[in-house]
């Protein structure tokens, strides 16, 4: 049901991202690769925070679980990277359901604090080298590149395109989500939980569904993140990172795909552009965040509802 105008915009967006690495320095390809990965994580955070309206400030847990699954299975158990991918998706799903099930009924602010707690426990576990497999505070180095058949994703550009592919896949999933019964159910229960229950929506099931789906996508993003640096470390998945993903969604525009992409660009790429200003850039950045929230409380690019097929309004 995507209209031609949107299809055109997305076409241009991907065309630009496809030719971009051929004009960038190695340093900037790296920044843009991380941008693509963070976009995927932010879009997954948006499923829980924007669409289902649950204050999850521990999303880095699922991103980190995916990243560490790949690194540990590869480095400690010698699995090829391809084989680690299903685990890096399924493990975050299981973790998200186990973590969310007992707290899902909590109101926004209580859920927020609980998820922060989980995130802190998670990074502490990684730092303390639980089961002797997480590599402690330094993490794990020297993860092998991804090999599919005879293709090896070792070069910087190949990983960039891998990340671009994952972003494309995520956008396809989210497009399918927002035009389906489960996706609409998330908006309904977010806007009025009681009214949703009274028309037959199992709000508990769909809240867990939102967590599981978003954890799966974040886990997959984690795999690419590990591949980009051939390494993982606890600092990349701490509570502050969760705050970043949370803020990206709110600043960009909850439930809005272009909003979340713009939010990621604004919150991650823009600070990189002003690197020469060192710490001063964060002052400007912080002020900009405040102003956006005051002037555009629904984000830079707010969501537009009314995704309905044309044939229902025609005679």
């Amino acid at each position: 049901m995507m209209n031609t105008k949107n299809a055109l915009y997305y076409g241009i967006f991907f065309l630009v991202l496809t030719v971009l690495p051929f004009f960038l320095t190695s340093n900037w390809i790296s920044v843009m690769t991380t941008f693509l990965i963070y976009s995927v994580v932010s879009l997954s955070q948006d499923i829980v925070l924007g669409r289902a309206g649950m204050f999850d400030m521990g999303h880095a847990i699922f991103f980190g679980l995916g990243a560490y699954s790949t690194a540990i299975l590869n480095m400690v158990y010698g699995w090829p990277i391809v084989a680690t991918i299903p685990v890096a998706i399924i493990l975050p799903i299981i973790a998200s359901i186990l973590l969310a099930a007992p707290i899902i009924h909590l109101r926004g602010d209580y859920l927020l604090v609980t998820t922060i707690g989980f995130n802190i426990v998670f990074t502490q576990a990684l730092k303390n080298n639980v089961f002797g497999i997480t590599g402690g505070p330094n993490g794990i180095f020297g993860v092998e590149p991804l090999k599919i058949f005879s293709i090896t994703f070792a070069s910087q550009k190949s990983i960039y395109f891998l990340a671009l592919f994952i972003l494309l896949l995520t956008l396809a999933i989210i497009h399918n989500l927002e035009t389906s019964k489960p996706g609409r159910a998330l908006h309904y229960l977010n806007l009025d939980s009681l009214a949703s229950e009274c028309i037959g929506i199992n709000t508990r099931f769909y809240r867990l569904y939102a967590f599981a789906l978003s954890a799966a996508i974040a886990g997959l993003a984690g795999v690419v993140f590990t591949l980009q640096f051939s390494a993982v470390s606890p600092g990349a998945f701490n509570f502050i990172q969760s705050v970043l993903f949370f803020t990206i969604v709110l600043v960009g525009g909850p439930s809005s795909i272009p909003g979340v992409l713009l939010g990621t660009f604004f919150m991650f790429v823009v600070p990189e552009m002003f690197r020469q200003f060192a710490e001063a850039r964060y002052l400007v950045f912080g002020v900009a965040m405040i102003l956006i929230m005051i002037w555009r409380p629904k984000g830079i690019w707010p969501v537009k509802f009314g995704r309905i097929p044309n044939y229902i309004t025609k005679e």
Binding site: K181, P182, H187, Y188, L191, I199, I201, G306, I308
Partner: protein
Amino acid sequence: MALLELDNVTKIFGGLVAVDSLSISIEKGMIYGIIGPNGAGKTTVFNCITGVYKPEKGKIIFKGKDITGLSPHKIANMGITRTFQTIRLFGEMSVAENIMSGRHSKSRQKWWHGIIHTPFYYKDEKENWLKVREYMELFGLTHLARMTAGSQPYGIQRKIEMARALATEPELLILDEPAAGLNDKERLELLETIRKIRGMGITILLIEHNMDLVMNITEYISVLNFGKKIAEGKPEEIQNNPVVIEAYLGKEDEDEF
């Protein structure tokens, strides 16, 4: 067998008995009214039936099945849908999306259709949107399909909420003060709509303060006061029942002073 039966239902909040051993029986196809002064416990009864509250005592039987204490979505899926006294729409979403929410339980899409669209998805999605179109036409909302529900005038919002409830294809439709805030013209329209809904074979249970409307449309009435049923019967019987008049207006001899 009655479609819905309440058997000695009691709901207590703290020390307050909001509903006191209430028994009512609603036959299939009828328009049943519950009336009573403010605070008589009418909405609490609705909340007990729809699973929002769990009654302390008593049983609620729907189509021969005990539904007491089931969660609201299960009760809704069994065929009981309600509207709210204070309208509860998904305000930021479009009118059509609001009505589509009523199709949730009838749509047979599974969780994976939120990730992958199969041929079945397209078929199911189209079927349900066409149903939405039907309900929009029924309520004359088609031209507002893309508009934000929350920015519509009050009367229209009431219609949207009723269309949403109907879209679930309920067997029992519960209306909590459907005429509240409507002008005379809208009230007449509402009467017509309620009759139309009954014509579809849907049983209706309603709470209403507007006596004209209640007396005009219901076939059977229960009167509540302080959580207790003080009278029941046909509208004309209720109108002349001294106990009911007393509950509404106070004792006649008091008025003379």
